[in-house]
Structures are given as C-alpha cells and as structure tokens.
Symmetry: C2
Subunit: 464 residues, 2 copies
Amino acid sequence: MAEGSIWEAFQHAGWEGLDNLTAIVDVNRLGQTRETMLGWNMDGYAERARAFGWHAIVIDGHDVDQIDVAFREAIDTHGHPTVVLARTKKGRGVRAVEDQPGKHGRPLDDPDEAIEELGGERELTVRVAAPPADGEPHRFETWGAELPSWQVGQEVATREAYGEALRALGHIRGDVVALDGELSNSTHSELFAHDHPDRYFEMFIAEQQMIAAAVGMQVRGWVPFASTFAAFVSRGYDFIRMAAISRANLRLAGSHAGVSIGEDGPSQMGLEDLAALRAVHGSTVLHPSDANQTARLVAEMADRPGISYLRALRPKTVVRTGPDEDIHIGGSRTVRASDGDELTIVACGITVGEAEKAADELAADGTRARVIDCYSIKPIDAGTLIQAALDTGGIITVEDHRAEGGLGEAVLAALAQEPERPPVTILAVREMPLSGKPAELMHSARIDAGAIVDAARRLAGVAA
Amino acid sequence: MAEGSIWEAFQHAGWEGLDNLTAIVDVNRLGQTRETMLGWNMDGYAERARAFGWHAIVIDGHDVDQIDVAFREAIDTHGHPTVVLARTKKGRGVRAVEDQPGKHGRPLDDPDEAIEELGGERELTVRVAAPPADGEPHRFETWGAELPSWQVGQEVATREAYGEALRALGHIRGDVVALDGELSNSTHSELFAHDHPDRYFEMFIAEQQMIAAAVGMQVRGWVPFASTFAAFVSRGYDFIRMAAISRANLRLAGSHAGVSIGEDGPSQMGLEDLAALRAVHGSTVLHPSDANQTARLVAEMADRPGISYLRALRPKTVVRTGPDEDIHIGGSRTVRASDGDELTIVACGITVGEAEKAADELAADGTRARVIDCYSIKPIDAGTLIQAALDTGGIITVEDHRAEGGLGEAVLAALAQEPERPPVTILAVREMPLSGKPAELMHSARIDAGAIVDAARRLAGVAA
C-alpha cells in the first residue's frame, strides 16, 4: 500500500465507479523488516480509500462471518468499488512468528512445532462457489474497412498513421480496444476514440494503471492497444516486465520518440525505450519510418503474442514504402542496394531519410552505400544484415536513441557469430540533447546525414 | 495528480510529518485533451490530501492575497506538510484559450491579440523575498574506518559486501546517507542503518519516491545510496531517467539480480536492469563478482558523477580478488590468461565462477581459455577486450540477464569498430525462468559451465 501504483488504481476505479470491483487489503501491520507506515491504523486506510471514492469496510480478517458479511455488503454497494480492509495477524497461530517483524520469507526454525500448533497434519478441502463459466468475450460492432494506405511521396507522421490504422482496425475487428495516457491528440489514438467511443479508455496521466488495465482487458478476451509518449512508457516499465512474466499479450505504442521531437526538450524524448523494451521477455520492438509501414505493423501487432511495442515519430516523414510492399514483423526494407556497394547504412525511423541523403552525397563522391530500413528491431532481419556484412566493407548504424541497447547493438548481435564481418560504427545520441529544431538536434547529436557521411569516410579510411 | 507517484510522495511526507514542506497544486481543471478526473472538485483534492496526513488549504489561485494568507498558514502549521490547492483558470485572460480544452501546448492563432488582452507589451520585474543563503550541508559525525576486505577463498554474497562497504563508508565520510525500499535485511543496507540510524531513510516499498528523495538529498549536498531488488529498480525507471536529465548524482544498488536468486521465481529476478540502466544518459553500470570488488566499487561510486548502478547477487560467491588488487570503474579483472589462449570467456557476477569451471573443463580437453571478469559494464574495459579479440579465435560472453542490452551487447559494442574480430557467442537468459535452485535455473537458462563448454566447442567447430 506504499506503492503509488495502488493509489493510481484506487483513483481510477473510484472515478469509474466500478461497483463490480471488490479489493481486499490484508492489513497485517508488518512489512519485511518493520511495521508499515499505517500499521493497524484501519481508519487511516479507510479514509484514504473513501477519499478516492471507494466504499470501505473494516473487519477482523480472521473472522469468517465478518468476511461473509463484508462480501454481501460489497455486492449490495452501487456506484462505488468496495475495499474490504481485513485486520489480520501475520503468521497467526504459530507462536514463533505470529505478529513478529523480521520473519518475512524465512524458513521456520521448527516446522513440526508449527504444524502441531496449527492442528497437526490434516487433509482439508474447502469448496467455494465457483465463478460463473465465462461466456464469449464481448465483441464490438464492426463495419468493415480496409487498412489505410498512402501514396509514395506523401508526408505523414507515423504517429498519425498509427491512429488511422488503429481506427481502421476497430472497424475490421470486434475485439480491438484502445487506451491512452491522456495524450490521444498527440499519439493520435483520438482517431480511434472518435470512431469507437465505447471501446476507447481514457487512462489519464497514469501509465502504470494504463498497462494494468490493458493486461486485464486481454485476460478478458480483448486486444488492447495502449499509447503514450515513448518517454513515458518508462513510467510503466515494471508493469510491462510483469505483464511479460504473466504471459500477457499487449500492444504498446510510444510516440514522440527521440530528439526529433524538437523543442520540448529531453524530458519528453524517449531515448531509452528501445533498450528497455528489447530486454523484456518475448517482446517485439518495431520502429517504422513511414506511414505505410506503420499501418501494416499495427495490423500484425493485433495477432502478435507477448508484448509488442511500436515506436512512433512526431514529425512527418515521406512515404517511401509502396502500399503493396511486403512489410512484416521480422522484416526490413532495402531502400537501395547494388552489387558494388562499399558500405551499408542501417537506419530506422527518422534516420532513414538521413541515411538516404547521406547515400546520395556519398554517391556524388563515387562511394556506393546500401541503405537498409530496419523497421523491425526485435526480431531483426538477420539474413539481410548478414548479407550486407558479406557484401560490403563496413556498416554504419544510425538511430535517434541512446547508443546502448538500441538498433546498433541489435545489429551487432545479429552479426555476432559471423566469422567474418566488417567494422560497425554506431551513430546514436551520446550527449544530453537540448531544445531546438529537429534538424538542429539531429545534427548536434551526430545522427544526421552529415554525421553518416563523416562516419563513412572514416570507415573508408580504416578499410583503405 | 493522476500519477500514483504523487500519492506515493503525499503518503511518505504525511507519515514523516514534514511541516517544512509546502506543495502547491494548480487546479486548472484541464488535462491535455479534456477535463481531469476531479476537474474543479477542490474538496476531492482536499479530502485526499488530508487522508494522507496533510493540511489542505483551498484558495482562488488568481487572488494574490489568498496565496499570501495560505503561505502564512503553511508556515504556522506544525506536524503536517501543507498543500495549497489553488483553483485557477488555464490560460486566464486570453479569451481564445481561457478554460478551453484542447489548447494545451499549441501555438496561439493570434498572439498579438493575446498580448493586447494581457495588457500589452510591458516590462514587469517582480522582486520576491530571496531564500536564506545556503549554509554548508549538514555533515554527520565520523569515526574513521577502513573499507572492509575479505580473504581470497572466503564465501560472501556481494549484497552483504555492499552493506558492509556502505557501513564503513558512513564511518569514513560525513556526507553519505542511505535509503532502501523496505528490503534492508535482504539488500544488507541494514548494516548501514544499524551503525548510522540518523542517516538511514526507510522508504518502504515505494521505489519512485525512493529515487525522488535521493535526488533531493544530493541537491542538498549529501551522497545518497539507494537500494532495493534489481527487479524493482524498474519501478523507478522514469525517475532514474529524469534524475539523469536533471544532472543528479545518484548511487543505486539492485540486489537479487538474475535467475541465481533461485526459488522466488521470475517476478523477483532482475533480468532487464543492465539494459535499462546502460541506456540512461551518463550512467555507470557495475556488476562485481565478489566481495572485495564490491567494496572498492561502492567506495568509487561515492565520488562518481551521474547515475551509478551496482548490481548485487543473492547467493554467496567465492572471493577471488585479492584485497590489494586494482579494482576501479572502467576496469576488468583477468582471471586467467596465457599466450596460447584459443578463446575468451567474458563473464560478470555469478557467471564468473561458471566461466572458471568451464575453463578448467576445457583445459582438461587441451583447450586454453582466457577468462575476463567484466565487473565494469559501463564504462567497459575496451582495451582488454580488444586485446582478447586479437589474441584468441572466439569470444563467449555469459551473463545472468536477458540477451538484449546487457554484457554481451556491451562487449560487442566495445569491439564493433575493430577491422578483425573473432565470432562472439552471447550466452544469456532467453526463456522464462521458473522457480528452482540457483544451479538448476542457471543450467536451464544455459548460462552455466556446461553451456559455456558447449559454446566453446561450437566455436571451435566454426573456427576449424
């Protein structure tokens, strides 16, 4: 009850008036080493719960009749969730540990004595009323629609493509729902909310509760997409970790990634999200560079098991991917390639445009560069990368993310076991960004076309 | 006010009775897209604050006299922190945006009109009472002590060495303080608490507030060390990210890292912490394998700028490092090496022992393996790794952490620009661990001596 996430949940449930929700707090006074902040101050717990809009019932948690009465009262409570605050003694019935601090998680000195105190070895079977058999999960009405697509050459922000694709997915599938951390007009989940108001959930600025609610929804048979800024995904990181351990299937979108957001400054720049999300068990990490890629990947995420994460951009990017190209989780897009390529530039998201510009500039100097748009960072298209390592004398990776745990290291890992591989230069954000125009910040972080060209010339120097 | 971390802070400050703390809540009703959960329900805010032990004052936030009265009342309030709940209108005085949803962070259509409405362009200088000049930060009494050291061959958990080193550091330095997330008898920060009760801060199970409090303490001139389980560091990840952006100097310790914790299962296993912490701006990431390393690194952390993180183990490990060896941030320890080494095993923490065993087994087969204990993961000892890449025909990295963003990728990054480098095999936790004995879980995750030997034989096959 010291964790803020508990009160985040109390606040939201109270606001929603969830009278089908009953929480039980086992108030046993003790933490791991000492008394908790409130100890057995039952009124303290009750006042807090009531202040957040809950009906609170204080009982003796060892009295089965009181438990029964409390549950009936919870069923009869309308308009508010109920919390049953059960005063208990930790380790009750075993003298050696009952109500003692410092006994948490430790083996008993004399387990046989404890069994004796608890009434000796017995076979007890307690039959409880089974919950009603689950019916089919609720399905929302669909009208049929097609995934959006854009003409090559159009300029569209991938965050907007995310919203458009999600909206269409709602029309196509009756199981998709959306949640947002009160940034829906920035992440563009508002497009979904507009067409599907009954399956959009406003989670306000409470990312832990957003992830928690999404976990609950997928347990109940829905396909949740939860969005916020990439920077704020970090606020829910433990919940994401635990969702993976709980085998939840969640789709997350983090918009406004990287220094390319520009003026808002470093607190708003998601620069650690690729590293954090790649390290989550069984995760999928995607970072499309244009709108058509985004729409295809959003559609694939709906059927993807585990935690999938899509990183979206604030600024518009030019649509390079044709509407009918094969874009899929685990794939990549070769932007340009020829037999005589001397080096390879691997980019994702906003840096794909910089890689193209750099390749143009290098071509003018007579150096041919392959450009790979690595929109699927986990799983990564190892085959294409290994081929590039065989074909070319150097690799430059470039990402709008910290140098650790992002695209560059994912590429290194894909190539790690190759007996022969060329040198790899990782261009990434290594200093603290300031506030400025996107182009200025990308220049300052050394992840723009100019930085790629410089790195290519250094590589050529090494190779020569 | 939707974020749980706010209530985590309210709860802790209320419990501490911090009557020198005054919080101001600007209750302007609006979030980014819509009304907040409480809107202008001032009583709702006041009830919540009071339930958490605060004195709450509701005022019209546009009335300077009311603000003044409220601040006086806050000064005169004893035994409780005070929150001033100021009802305001967002964008007050500019018709185009005043109290309008959807105007957050958007440029005005007609800025000149807004300036006119606000009274035209003016030069206003407001002089406020300056806070008293800061004196010297409080220094605690010291008795003098030496850093603890252990005999080679002793078996000690690095988490215990952390606690012993921190306790000694408290005797040596008058500026060191410690915080813990109510796990002090597991992280062993209790050793510090025992000797220095006046500078140990129990943060209960509230990791965001623990980081926040540590940030505040270093602003005021103390040197805070904050500890919890490595798994729960993830709960405070956004606070760590923001602490780095705020240029805070923080020392964090995460104990019970990896599958080697054994029976408690995956929810308690920190397996993403190296990736998450490496990606933080300017961070230092350390993972000692024995007690002597730990003590030296803890002492160095006290003077280290930025966010430094020490990963500690639950099980005992044998002390391999002599008390007088040179252990330092950015260093590594070559456990064994010879001119004829055919391959290199790079390990850290619990896997160093496995690497030694594997090297013994390989030696029995006639294969000589170099073993590097890479206790400093960021910064990493690139020179030693590059030399190993030159000297040997293959590298195996082995870590009790996910494959992404940890030791393996840090090693790859250190070698990335080398024109010639042997294949690298990353041994890491790739499946969902279960509950079991540490040795069983390390075997199952394929990060034990047997897995290293298998990988070595595969590498030899590739090389041959």
